[in-house]
């Protein structure tokens, strides 16, 4: 075999592997990507029931109801629209009324049946997705969001 043929085999197989990887990526992109929405997006866009989505916003004060068997219901708000969320399980330590939260689950009859509830890692920060959702609905106060550490007073 000449050097050229060997190189062709090498390049051919590299392209083959890359093609397989591209196919895997495109296939996975179709099946396993979840879009993020603000509560207002859900009200405005027509999202098919049963679609898996992420919703972020604040936990509406006064909306948290705890039931039997670790069932919990609450509403996520961006200040304009509220979306009811149902969840069974243990919510994160920093899950509180009036605080930022991101939930992921299926959309059923206008409510989210969540299988994942994320709160922030630190009391100083807000999930960025939530900040953007609040900014979009005009409920974001620049001051409150910029308490990030590290700057001398």
């Amino acid at each position: 075999m000449t050097r050229k043929q060997r190189r062709l085999i090498l390049i051919g197989s590299s392209l083959g592997v890359l093609a397989i990887a591209a196919a895997l990526i495109l296939n996975a992109m179709n099946d396993s990507i979840v879009f993020f929405n603000s509560p207002t997006d859900i009200a405005e866009k027509h999202i098919a029931p049963g679609t898996r989505i992420r919703v972020g916003g604040l936990v509406k004060p006064g909306s948290v109801q705890r039931g039997e068997n670790l069932n919990i219901r609450f509403e996520v708000t961006d200040g304009k629209t509220d979306v009811p969320v149902r969840f069974q399980g243990i919510v994160p330590d920093l899950f509180r009324e009036g605080q930022g939260v991101v939930t992921e689950g299926k959309l059923e009859a206008g409510a989210i049946v969540a299988d994942m509830v994320l709160a922030k890692h630190d009391e100083r920060y807000m999930p960025r997705e939530v900040v953007d959702a609040l900014k979009k609905s005009g409920r974001w106060e620049e001051e409150a969001g910029q308490t990030s550490g590290g700057t001398p007073r």
């Binding site: 592997v17 895997l24 990526i25 243990i90 920093l94 890692h121 630190d122 550490g149 590290g150």
Partner: protein
């Protein structure tokens, strides 16, 4: 005074760095030995000044000097000493200082131990290393100065983020950074080779130990981070495909590929251009990781504070180094001469296959991590790419990679015999098939893929043992001969077998924890009992305890197995009043390679307590495997042939055949 000295030392380091970035290159160009030697002393002095600067910040933390803004923001006088010390890098500014500390340490090590490098190569390497250092000194001094003072010193600090108040913080970031930054040496060597326009097998022999050392630390750092996340986040997950985790996985994948391609270059003088490219890419991925984590593009525990100017600054560093190095590569790489030929079935090809799959797997992680950022930047749509994406893309590629893994070490260089190798691997195939059958028999049809994964893991483990057995002619002659041959085997052969074995052990752990794990999420009243996978846990009650800077609610559970008490588990919630934050301290009970994992939810008004209880069979193997991989890396690193300047190993031809697979 001490913080000012620290600040000043960093400025001095920058001045030395600028000198080192220019002088040795001029020296190499004009063949001026004195100018080239200058780099040795500046590299050592740079390390001295950065170490001094780092020590100054540490002193400020240990003495709780809250007049320093960084200490005020991230420390508390009541914190235990170990957390005061580790919170030096538990924040953005300090962690960047740790970054340059390690960078300058590596530079100093090249200066100190690189006595037998060709003078121009060494001068170029140290100069390039210094460019990187200067960029990051400037970054710290201009955007992230840890030594800024406050106008009035507060009496008490704002405390370290309680999630970070964990021994993990003392270990995980330094290990990870040694890994990340260690790849800078491979990068500097690659750039130096491109500037020199000359590269040979000796180059690979110099680069390999540095890459190997960085790889060992990165492996441990990732494993440590995974274990930390596992026990601290309270969900019992060990890998979340979080962008920040991916940021550390990508350099690991590229670095692993680099280790293997450097072998081809060292032994066969082939794949030169590719190895150079990989060295550039590996460190570029480390820089991208730093950018992702430090710029505030991503929100996670790792992004301490977001400040847009920092993001832009790191982006400039990124564009300069990645863009610059790739342009240099495009310009100079064609000058490098092509090396040895090899047949499509050969050890070289197996290593090419390894590289192809590792870099492709790295690419899928790259796409999954950056695609959401790009999509948001261009269309504004926000998506999340989670575990399902990576399982569907990364998973199959790694399965293919691991299936071919046992073949590689058994193939001969230049031209191999696939059929012969397959015959020699028969025993390993048998072990794999037996493992599949046994797993099916034990578990039934519940997790269809699990038995095949177990089979693959056992095939790889048996394959690495076959490799050793073949090389020592075990079972084919007297045992004494085998023992002699084993003693004569190069350490790197042992290293390969051990590291491959370790990867299979990790795979086994992942399969065990992911397929056969069981969980209960429920609320319990005192004296009630819950059972899971043969264990009964009785809730004995809640007690209050106070720690140095927190109040804890500790739940006591008695664990019984078959009615016999085996242990007491005490999961807790800690409340840090300084930040009005609660952390979850899961209780872990190791039984064999599996673990019982118990973490607390909220106490409900009726006195019952929500708990998460998991049983994770084989889960410890995930991290044990990483330790085994690290040991393999260590064995390879101790190979005398990698100690540059050691006498040539082939002093008698008898040891030579051991380099080839035994026929």
């Amino acid at each position: 005074m001490i913080p000012e000295l620290g600040h000043y030392a960093l400025v001095l380091a920058l001045a030395l760095g600028l000198m080192q970035a220019v002088a040795p290159m001029i020296g190499a160009y004009t063949r001026d030995a004195a100018l080239m030697r200058l780099a040795n002393s500046t590299a050592l002095m740079q390390f001295f000044f950065v170490a001094f600067s780092f020590a100054a910040l540490t002193v400020s933390y240990v003495t709780s000097d809250f007049s320093v803004a960084n200490v005020f923001e991230n420390s508390h006088s009541m914190m235990p000493l170990i957390y005061k010390m580790s919170s030096v890098w538990g924040n953005h500014e300090g962690s960047m200082l740790l970054w340059v500390l390690i960078l300058s340490l590596f530079g100093a090590m090249v200066a100190a131990f690189g006595a037998n490098l060709p003078a121009t190569l060494k001068a170029h390497v140290l100069a390039v290393q210094s460019w990187i250092a200067c960029a990051f000194y400037l970054f710290i001094l201009l955007t992230s100065n840890p030594f800024l003072r406050m106008a009035e010193a507060p009496l008490e600090g704002r405390d370290l983020n309680p999630i970070l108040q964990d021994p993990g913080l003392a270990i995980h970031p330094p290990l990870l950074y040694i890994g990340y930054v260690g790849f800078s040496i491979a990068f500097s060597f690659a750039i130096a080779a491109l500037i020199d326009g000359r590269i040979d097998a000796a180059w690979a022999r110099w680069v390999r130990p540095w890459t190997l050392a960085a790889w060992i630390f990165l492996t441990l750092g990732i494993a440590m981070g995974s274990y930390w996340a596992y026990y601290t986040l309270g969900w019992g997950g060990f890998w979340f495909w979080d962008p920040v985790e991916n940021a550390s996985l990508m350099p690991w994948l590229a670095g692993t590929a680099l280790l293997h391609s450097a072998v081809v270059m060292e032994k066969r003088n082939a794949l030169k251009v590719w190895t150079i490219l990989l060295a550039i890419l590996t460190f570029s991925l480390s820089l991208i990781g730093t950018f992702l984590v430090r710029s505030g593009v991503l929100t996670s525990v790792h992004s301490f504070a977001s400040d847009p100017t920092r993001g832009v600054f790191i982006l400039i560093i990124l564009v300069f180094f990645i863009g610059g190095s790739l342009s240099l590569f495009a310009w100079r790489a064609p000058l490098l001469k092509q090396g040895g030929l090899f047949a499509p079935i050969s050890r070289e090809s197996a290593l090419v296959f390894n590289n192809l799959f590792l870099t492709t797997a790295c690419l899928t992680v790259f796409v999954g991590t950056l695609y959401p950022l790009a999509l948001e930047a261009f269309t504004g749509a926000k998506i999340s790419v989670g575990a399902p994406f990576f399982n569907l893309t990364f998973g199959p590629l790694f399965v293919a990679l691991m299936f071919v893994m046992p073949f590689g070490p058994l193939l001969a260089w230049k031209r191999g015999d696939a059929l012969g190798v397959a015959q020699r691997l028969m025993a390993a195939f048998g072990v794999g098939l037996a493992a599949i059958a046994a797993t099916f028999a034990v578990q039934g049809g519940q997790a269809i893929l699990a038995p095949f994964g177990v089979g693959l893991a056992f095939f790889v483990m048996a394959g690495s043992l076959v490799d050793l057995a073949e090389r020592t002619a075990l079972f084919r002659g007297p045992l004494a001969t085998s023992r002699m041959r084993a003693a004569g085997l190069p350490r790197s052969v042992w290293g390969t077998a051990v590291a491959h074995f370790g990867l299979a052990v990790t795979l086994l752990g992942i399969i065990g924890a992911a397929s056969w794990g069981t969980e209960r999420i429920l609320s319990l009243k005192p004296t009630q009992t819950v059972s899971l996978s043969g264990y009964e846990l009785t809730f004995d009650g809640l007690v209050q305890q106070s720690g140095p800077n927190y109040q804890a609610q500790v739940a006591k559970f008695t664990v019984r197995s078959g009615g016999v008490p085996v242990a007491v588990m005490e999961p807790a919630k800690r409340n840090f009043s300084s930040r009005s934050m609660t952390t979850n301290e899961a209780a872990l009970l190791t039984r064999g390679a599996g673990q019982l994992y118990l973490s607390l939810g909220d106490a409900e008004p009726d006195g019952s307590l929500a708990i998460r209880l998991y049983y994770k069979p084989l889960v410890m193997l995930i991290w044990l495997g990483a330790v085994v991989m690290m040991l393999g890396g260590g064995l390879s690193l101790s190979d005398r042939r990698l100690r540059v300047g050691a006498p040539k190993p082939a002093k008698k031809p008898a040891t030579k055949p051991t380099l080839q697979p035994a026929e």
